[in-house]
């Protein structure tokens, strides 16, 4: 929203990115962390989908991510094609403390590879890394309490009750190696992340930015009426380098946490 007024439109490359994954794995939290560097303990589930934007600078190139955060519950599945159509990138999120969520992630990957844009860049993100890190234990007592509360209430939910011991690795249900192997085999970018601590979040979007065939997007959209695509003056060579969150991240805050 603020971008359209800022006049930077013609410098940035618009990238449509979609987040997919089982309910409550932390998709919205990942986006919230990326877009406004925040974490909310109890985020309302996404109904249908939410839309957010965030700019990234990759050397001299500015990428403007248009992020579609989708709802995770199975029955919203049929709405997903509406959101991943024309997407150039996808982040498929699972929860490393819940084995089934990786299965769901795999089926999303399969669907994307068959149904979505053929050049789509897919990243696999195993979220909630903080829950299995010993370092999180000391701080985690207070800050991760919300997820433990949840689990405590959820006595009826199988597989969610964490051991009362302080052994955090016991919460892990998806070994890193297993997911990494799958990602390699399926040709995905792979990260373990924590929306809570922020670990690994920016990396997802940086790596995606590097891998995205920007020239393709430019070529495809050049000359169309779409803002953000028309008449990019940036030169052709794609450059390696870090992505800096735009300064106006704070400005877009109000745009994201709603």
């Amino acid at each position: 929203m603020s971008d359209s007024a800022s006049g930077s439109v013609d410098k940035s490359v618009q990238v449509k990115l979609v987040l997919l994954g089982e309910a409550a794995v932390g998709k919205s939290s990942v986006v919230l962390r990326f877009v406004s560097n925040e974490f909310q303990a109890n985020k309302e589930p996404t109904i249908g989908a939410a839309f957010l934007t965030q700019k990234c600078r990759l050397e001299d190139r500015v990428l403007r991510y248009e992020i579609w955060d989708t709802a995770g519950q199975e029955r919203f599945h049929s709405l997903a094609p509406m959101y991943y159509r024309n997407a150039q990138a996808a982040v498929v999120v699972y929860d490393i403390t819940k084995a089934t969520s990786l299965e769901k992630a795999k089926s999303w990957v399969k669907e994307l590879q068959r149904q979505a844009n053929p050049n789509i860049v897919i990243a696999l993100a195993g979220n909630k890394l903080d829950l299995v890190q010993p370092s999180a234990l000391s701080t985690g007592a207070a800050s991760s309490s919300e997820s433990e509360d949840e689990a405590d209430d959820a006595t009826a939910t199988p597989g969610e009750t964490p051991g009362s011991s302080g052994e955090p690795e016991s919460l892990r249900q998806v070994p890193r190696e297993e997911a990494q192997a799958y990602a390699t085999e399926a040709g995905l970018l792979f990260f373990e992340t924590s929306a809570k601590t922020g670990e690994g979040i920016v990396d997802i979007f940086t790596e995606i930015a590097k891998k995205i065939p920007i020239e393709h997007i430019l070529a495809a959209t050049r000359g169309t009426a779409r803002p953000g695509a028309a008449g990019s003056r940036a030169d052709g060579a794609r450059q390696e380098g870090g992505v800096n969150l735009e300064e106006n991240a704070a400005k877009s805050k109000d745009a994201c946490n709603c």
Partner: protein
């Protein structure tokens, strides 16, 4: 893994009667499985023209309308269907009197339990009025007998309105300004007995600033109205009621008014204790729904204090779980948590449960269903309404390729409660737009919060067009989905702002954007009527269903773990056959998850998956395998047709269990695909092995003697309609050879394997003798079986190509063969439309055909390799001498009689049952026991005799049964009639003379 649902196919448009019930917010017939059904069988219904006058003169005008008895309710609506209405349980009526009025006038005075008088003048003809009164009397009597009358007093005590009207001061001394209870000070004192239901707000405060909400004055206004016009069960809705709802509801009353206006109160009233029982009955039960609910409990209005405490969370859990137990098919859908959380602030659990029921089932039909078809359908309807009402915006969106639903869908789903934009919802009835101009802020939320608007049939149909219209100019600048969403978000965030900030008129400046929205919804979009929405829904339903079905087909195919050697298209054909079978023989309801004990707790439990049972499988297979259906070609001189039925045979059951690799007694789509993959691509040797394995029950690599017999029967079943003797001969030879080789290879005591030796030792006598064959003794191995099969040319060709070829994925052509239009009855035929007609026509022509001797029935062969009758060989030569010996009973004359009946009941002769279990063969060591053999051989003989020599071409039929639903798209443009009708004065529909009569009635004395 996927679930396949045929529920959408079975949708039925509501009948007129059902629409009336819906209009009066009455519980739908049989909505509670079984509990009330018996009464509904003979629900008395009648309506009559009437004029309603209020018991106290001058308070309200009189209105003409229709009075309905829909036992056990009495309902009234004014002619315009919106000004005045009520729905009152008969049990609240304590007295009915015929009034002594002017001649020719028939009037009744009805008194409710709290003494309110309603006067209705029945304006229909006298006999109709008499009949109506008689019906009313009977219905009241029944209510009295059912003891309903006694329940009323207890029930109304649970309603806040009763407390409100009896209180002298408008705000009780233990209430805060916002209506919540003050209890902290007297923590130890016994809590004041409040019998009325209320929500979490009583304890955790109601959202919003009570001053701004003007709670005190609202309470006063409402108390006055409810005192005079009835309340809860007996509320009469006059225009004043609608206006008051627009002013807003006091926090304490809100929950109850939602209940009353939505009709969920009738459900609570007629099902006392249901909620508690439901929870008790299902205690500890878990399901996918309960798991999903757990995930979201802490994610529902988390800012509200009530949901930061265990009290609120567990109330929310119970309500959502109870709903999912009540309606397992729908279960739980995200968005319901937010809805339930919002209403629980204002309502007790029981109230919220019933309101949720009404919301999910009636107000938002199909919105939360697993396919979300209701949501998708209403999005489509919404788009079409925008196209109609706001063509410029619609066209612009088309040009820039923006989908309206990306923004509107979340709000349709959550009734505006979503994402903090709203904290205040209100359920309305169909015609009234009920809304609150109230602004509130959920504590700790910094955003302004608007109220939401609920209409029926769907709450969002008026407000969304209004939102688009208000933002029209900006919308035309939008270039993509993102821009659209941003604009909408900004708009929602600014709803609390002034709509005309630059106006010089302070009053105009005071109008918020929210109020502006309400105004525009009212003024300009009340043209969108229920009927319009219903007819639009009808228009798009099949389109939506088709797209949902093709989506679920695609994802079912994608979700297959393996396609085997099938292409996606072929898998699609398998899916189609499965789907068709499920439509006709639906599998049992949603499979309840296995008991918790069996659910692995390591997080690897399975997602629910659609599985079919044997009967559905039989239908499925009959669509695919030629021998799994009986096809009779009937010719009667006028027409030639194929009567098709599902074959039943042990062989098919065997296949079912053979494919059920996970031993669940039911097959999934994947099982079917893998199963078919295991046979359709086989070569000769693989097919022989497949067939062998199919009959090798314990999978030890050997067939027992019994299994050899069963296998022979399977042959006979598959070949049952083949022309000529070739197959029967082959089966007969097969049996002979199989038994010969089998016996020859029987282990003697010396080389028998130790296991069987021990078994024999136990029984003792003559271990060397091969006579004693236990029924489970290995008898024939694959190599021998293969040898026996390959020795026979006919069987070899069967396994080489015919077996695999008998599975055909392409849909079976329709069973009708075209009739030449020039035929005698051709014209008649072409006018036949329905299935039952066809059946009658078929029977009719059959009869004629029989009389004129042209009726002929032929069973279509499954393999059809030999279409010409081969010269019958000498029948004796088919049987070995020993077999002939034991089959002497099967005389030729005997079997020829069988032949004459065989065409009538073909399947009866093909289901052979052989009972050999535990009957060791004694006198015929080289053959199975005579008891078991003789029926078999008899049958073979009989079959040889019954062959109807006839050659049939594969009759194909391309007649397309296009009985597609005729689009009942009667686009009655009532749009203009209803323009702004709401804001118009409420016309009572009465002339002055009528009014005078009505006024007279107010003073009339009861008839003695």
């Amino acid at each position: 893994m996927s679930t396949i649902s045929t529920a959408l196919r079975n949708f039925k448009e509501p009948t007129k009667e059902q629409l009336t019930q819906i209009f009066f917010s009455l519980p739908s017939v049989g909505s509670l499985d079984g509990t009330e059904k018996t009464l509904d069988q003979h629900v008395e219904k009648m309506d009559i023209n009437a004029v309603l006058s209020f018991g106290v003169q001058g308070v309200e005008d009189s209105y003409a309308g229709k009075l309905h008895i829909i036992a056990p309710y009495l309902a009234f609506t004014s002619l315009d269907k919106k000004s005045v209405r009520f729905t009152i349980p008969l049990s609240t009526i304590r007295r009915v009197e015929r009034l002594n009025a002017r001649a020719g006038i028939y009037a009744l005075s009805l008194s409710t339990w709290h003494g309110m008088k309603i006067i209705v003048q029945l304006t229909s003809l006298r006999p109709t009025a008499d009949q109506f009164c008689a019906l009313l009397r009977d219905a009241l009597k029944i209510e009295l007998q059912r003891g309903q009358m006694k329940l009323v007093k207890g029930f109304v005590k649970t309603c806040y309105s009763e407390a409100l009207v009896s209180e002298t001061s408008t705000v009780a001394d233990n209430e805060r300004e916002d209506g919540s209870l003050i209890s902290e000070e007297k923590e130890n004192a016994a809590p004041r007995e409040s019998t009325y239901h209320g929500g979490l707000g009583l304890r955790f405060k109601f959202p919003g600033d009570p001053k701004k909400l003007r709670e005190a004055s609202k309470i006063k206004l409402w108390a006055t109205y409810l005192r005079a016009h009835g309340r809860n069960l007996t509320l009469l809705r006059y225009p004043q009621c609608t206006r008051l709802v627009q002013v807003g509801l006091p926090n304490r009353l809100r929950g109850e008014m939602w209940e009353t206006l939505s009709g969920s109160m009738y459900l609570r009233f007629s099902n006392p204790g249901f909620y508690e029982d439901l929870l008790k009955k299902n205690e500890g039960r878990t399901s996918t729904s309960t798991e999903d609910i757990e995930k979201d409990l802490h994610r529902s209005l988390p800012e509200y204090a009530g949901y930061q405490s265990e009290e609120g969370i567990s109330a929310l859990r119970r309500v959502l779980q109870a709903y999912s137990f009540k309606n397992p098919e729908l279960g739980y859908c995200q968005a319901m948590n937010i809805l339930a959380a919002a209403i629980l602030i204002y309502m007790s659990e029981e109230q919220a449960f019933w309101l949720l029921e009404v919301l999910c089932d009636r107000l938002l039909p199909g919105y939360y269903a697993p396919s979300m078809h209701g949501t998708l359908l209403d999005q489509r309807v919404f788009e079409s309404l925008v196209q109609r009402c706001l063509p410029i915006i619609h066209d612009h969106f088309q040009v820039v390729d923006v989908q309206l639903s990306v923004a509107s869908l979340p709000w349709f789903l959550s009734l505006f409660v979503y994402q903090q934009y709203a904290n205040d919802i209100c359920i309305s009835d169909s015609r009234l737009l009920l809304l609150h101009g109230t602004q509130g802020v959920i504590p700790s939320r910094t955003r302004s919060v608007c109220s939401s608007i609920i209409y029926e049939p769907s709450p969002s149909f008026h407000s969304w067009p209004a939102i688009l219209k208000i933002n029209g100019e900006k919308l035309l600048q939008i270039q993509d989905d993102g821009g659209f969403l941003n604009l909408m978000r900004d708009y929602f965030a600014s709803l609390g702002d002034s709509a005309h900030p630059n106006s010089t008129d302070p009053r105009a400046r005071a109008i918020t954007r929210f109020q502006e929205l309400l105004l525009v919804s009212f003024r300009e979009f009340s043209v969108i009527t229920d009927d319009m929405i219903l007819s639009e829904r009808r228009r798009f339903r099949s389109e939506i269903i088709n797209s949902i079905e093709s989506f679920s087909k695609r994802s079912a195919i994608r979700n297959l773990k393996t396609l085997g050697r099938f292409t996606k298209e072929q898998a699609g054909l398998i899916y189609d056959a499965l789907y068709m079978a499920m439509c006709i023989l639906p599998p049992p309801g949603p499979v309840n998850p296995p008991p918790t004990l069996l659910t692995p707790h390591d997080g690897t439990e399975e997602k629910p998956e659609t599985r079919i049972e044997l009967s559905t499988f039989q239908y499925f297979l009959s669509e695919i395998a030629t021998w799994a259906r009986n096809e009779k070609i009937v010719m009667n001189g006028f027409q030639q047709r194929i009567d098709r039925e599902i074959a039943e045979h042990e062989f098919i059951d065997r296949l079912f269990f053979f494919w059920d690799t996970s031993c669940r007694g039911a097959l999934s789509f994947q099982d079917l695909v893998s199963g078919l993959d295991g046979v359709m691509f086989n070569d000769l040797m693989e097919n022989i092995e497949w067939f062998f394995n199919l009959h090798d029950k314990n999978k030890d690599g050997f067939l027992t003697k019994d299994e050899v017999l069963t296998l022979s029967e399977s042959f006979l079943f598959i070949f049952r309609y083949e022309v000529g003797d070739a197959y029967l001969g082959a089966v007969s030879r097969f049996m002979t050879n199989a038994f010969e080789y089998g016996d020859a290879l029987l282990p003697t005591a010396e080389d028998a394997d130790p296991n069987s030796e021990r078994a024999h030792d136990g029984q003792g006598p003559e271990p060397t003798s091969p006579h004693f064959i236990e029924s489970n003794q290995p008898y024939l191995n694959l190599a021998t079986f293969r040898m026996v099969v390959l020795a026979d040319e006919v069987l070899e060709s069967f396994f080489e190509t015919d077996l695999s070829g008998s599975f055909r994925l392409e849909p079976v052509p329709d069973a009708e063969l075209p009739v030449s239009p020039s035929g005698l009855l051709g014209d008649l035929w072409s006018t036949i439309a329905t299935d039952s007609n066809k059946k009658m026509f078929n029977m009719f022509t059959d009869e004629i055909g029989k009389t004129i001797g042209k009726h002929q029935v032929i069973n279509r062969p499954s393999i059809g390799r030999y279409t010409k009758l081969e010269e019958p060989k000498a029948r004796e030569s088919l049987l070995t001498p020993s077999m002939r010996k034991s089959s002497s009973k099967a005389s030729l004359t005997g079997s020829s009689t069988a032949a004459s009946t065989a065409t009538l009941a073909p399947s009866s002769s093909s289901t052979l049952t052989v009972d050999t279990k535990g009957q060791p063969a004694k006198d015929l060591p080289q053959l199975p026991s005579s008891e078991s053999l003789s029926p078999m051989v008899q049958a073979v003989n009989a079959r040889l005799m019954e062959r109807t020599p006839f050659a049939i071409d594969d009759a194909k039929d391309d007649e397309d049964e296009s009985d597609d639903e005729i689009d009942a798209n009667d686009n009655d443009d009532r749009v203009m009639d209803e323009v702004d009708a709401f804001l118009e004065a409420h016309d009572s529909g009465l002339t002055d003379a009528d009014k005078e009569v009505a006024n007279d009635l107010l003073h009339a004395e009861p008839l003695k």
